[in-house]
Symmetry: C2
């Protein structure tokens, strides 16, 4: 049972989450718990470090940040004791969570499950501080965004458990319910669809944890800690084969603050595009929605792609070194993505997309497809309208 | 260089303390730093634990509390980096600070200085989180009140360094300057006098760290982090033999909130008093100022002693089981203590005491003496008057 920041955001929330653990134990399940820092605490600590000129990626920042989960793990152990259960906290280093990779974005390379097994066999509930581990030279490391989900999935894999991710929503929805009130909770979804939804902007689960869960076949469930015990059904995330009734489209995700860069008249030699993407990769800029087409001038090509708005200035500096005739950039764009396992087998999926957006007069700037998703780039002002019209067109609206 | 809570109470204070470290380094000294939690943080964390029914002495409380020093150690490392120095934080477990004893009041049983030596030889300043260590079974432990002083003294002993304790006052004073404006800073004081002043109520240093420093001959200095570099002279605490000019009286300490218990007509069999003190020790109640005298009834004795006011109810329950004819208790008392290495050789020390207090009409309830101190119990209302008149009588007033 993993509890995110909002689920341990106050002593009241910690008590409510402890009650969910107690209910699970009362049903006869053996439980291990993983917690995030109390909501707001990571930002507070990050701001202290920031005022001293340190940020994510610095070793000492990780020492500051890991204190957040340390505190909530101990408080959760106390709340469980208050409910009459036996519990003990485990920090990342105590759980022998070994990490590789840089501070602020480390990867889990090992986890020793034996202390957890020992604790659980003795009838105690281990409560692990999420988001943290230690490097080979014993420095504290954090695991980057969504790190506590990753800690939870890694622990579940190590002890052979199912992994319930408690959050402040009742599961994964067909789209953002704040934008489309007719959004429905998804009962079951495949790892791949969940991955794609997360990659396309759904915030409920990070791609890294979904990937890890898929690779290790850890059954995942996303559900709410704000409901009474047993009242949140949540969303099961599992192998596609294990889902009996499959829909063509599972959900619609969106990401705002997209920027589009168009290079006109770039040399069509194979090295030219590679050099550009290599430069952007060096600057740690993620590339999305690549479209390439021949330019009118012979031996030249046009190349377009989207990036996160925040990276635009950095990207344009890098691209300045290319031999493109023209570099255009555009902001104020949003990406809306339709995700579903059935997409690759249905020709009318594209027709529905164009028809629905066309009917609303929404211009499609760029389209990009994969096995299980279609993304369209639209003007940011049309995000909500596009999302709602596609939600209806693909039959996702709640009755 | 050890910095207490007020010296790291805000980012500004951390920066000012880092400047003191930089100045020390600029003088060519190699430095290791030990820090407390930011002022107020330990209370905040303790209150969170308290609201879940946990307090000092619980294992998980220690996990919560140690996060405070973890955060300030990392922030101090950042501030040192900001000053152009190389620094790295060490948590208690990283420094292999092994502890025995219960949570909330553990004792240091071992410390591996090699990581510090390695860091310092590489030109880096190690910044250790104070107040913490780990038990043999790898649980985090805190060292009790004044624990960070103890961490600092233990580290200084292990690396063969002098130990500067930075606080918010300019050193040890002849008495509390808030009560007696004529109080003077003491230049040099012996370990034993410092111990006695601390035991009798002076708050500047805990007895445990002074004891540890004495046992390991660590030269201690108490000075202010609120002065510009080099401006606080502070107080040196050292072997009595190393102090050339010694005064008869070094300082006057006080402790309010004393309670007095008088047992009239207790059986004078040897076991009777032992049983009472045994019972109080079991309840962890400290006994002070014991006076025994024969009772008028044959085979009976009168026994008096003082305890901390907070322990009175608990103590009376324990004493209820004795066979004393009468048990009286009194509160609203304060203890004022005159401390000095010369006390044991001067007969007129007692005369001065009785004369000074008599002149002000202050009744002495109980007197208790040791080699280097005389304590008197007076009505709490007379605390300041007694302190000031003794300060003058023993020639301690600043010119």
């Amino acid at each position: 049972m993993k509890f995110g920041g909002p689920s341990v955001g106050s002593l009241e929330r910690i008590r409510a989450s402890a009650a969910l653990v107690a209910a699970e134990c009362a049903r006869g399940d053996r439980v291990a718990v993983v917690v995030s820092a109390m909501a707001g605490e990571t930002d507070r600590l990050l701001s202290l470090a920031g005022q001293l000129g340190f940020g994510l990626g610095d070793e000492e920042t990780d020492v500051v940040l890991t204190a957040g989960e340390q505190i909530s793990a101990a408080l959760m152990s106390m709340a469980l004791a208050e409910s009459g259960l036996t519990a003990r906290s485990f920090l990342g280093w105590q759980a022998r969570i070994r990490t590789d990779g840089p501070p602020g974005a480390a990867r889990i390379s090992g986890l020793d499950a034996s202390p957890f097994r020992t604790a659980m066999e003795a009838g105690a509930i281990p409560v692990m501080a999420g988001y943290q581990g230690a490097s080979r030279d014993e420095r504290l490391r954090t695991l980057g965004r969504g790190g506590t989900d990753l800690s939870a999935v890694a622990l579940a894999a190590a002890i052979g458990a199912e992994c319930d991710i408690y959050t402040d929503v009742d599961g994964v929805f067909t789209t953002d319910p704040r934008i489309e009130p007719k959004a429905r909770r998804i009962d079951k979804i495949s790892y791949d669809e969940m991955l794609e939804l997360a990659a396309q902007g759904a915030k409920v689960l990070q791609t890294r944890s979904a990937e890890f869960a898929k690779a290790r076949s850890v059954p995942l469930r996303v559900l709410s800690s704000f409901a009474e015990p047993g009242q949140s059904e949540g969303t099961m995330i599992m192998q596609a084969e294990d889902i009996a009734e499959r829909r063509i489209v599972s959900g619609i995700a969106y990401a705002r603050d997209q920027a589009r860069i168009a290079l006109r008249g770039l040399s069509s030699e194979p090295g030219a595009a590679a050099a550009i993407f290599g430069g952007l990769a060096e600057a740690d800029i993620g590339i999305d929605m690549i479209v390439q087409s021949p330019a009118s001038e012979s031996g030249r090509t046009n190349l377009e792609f989207t990036i996160d708005r925040r990276d635009l200035d950095k990207a344009l500096v890098r691209i300045g070194e290319s031999d493109a005739r023209d570099v255009l950039s555009e902001t104020g764009l949003a990406k809306v993505s339709v995700v579903g396992l059935g997409l690759n087998r249905r020709a009318d999926v594209a027709r529905i997309l164009y028809a629905a957006l066309g009917q609303e007069g929404i211009a499609i700037r760029t389209v990009s497809t994969s096995e299980i998703k279609i993304s369209v780039l639209v003007s940011d002002a049309y995000t909500e309208l596009a999302l709602r019209s596609l939600h209806t067109a693909y039959g996702l609206d709640a009755a």
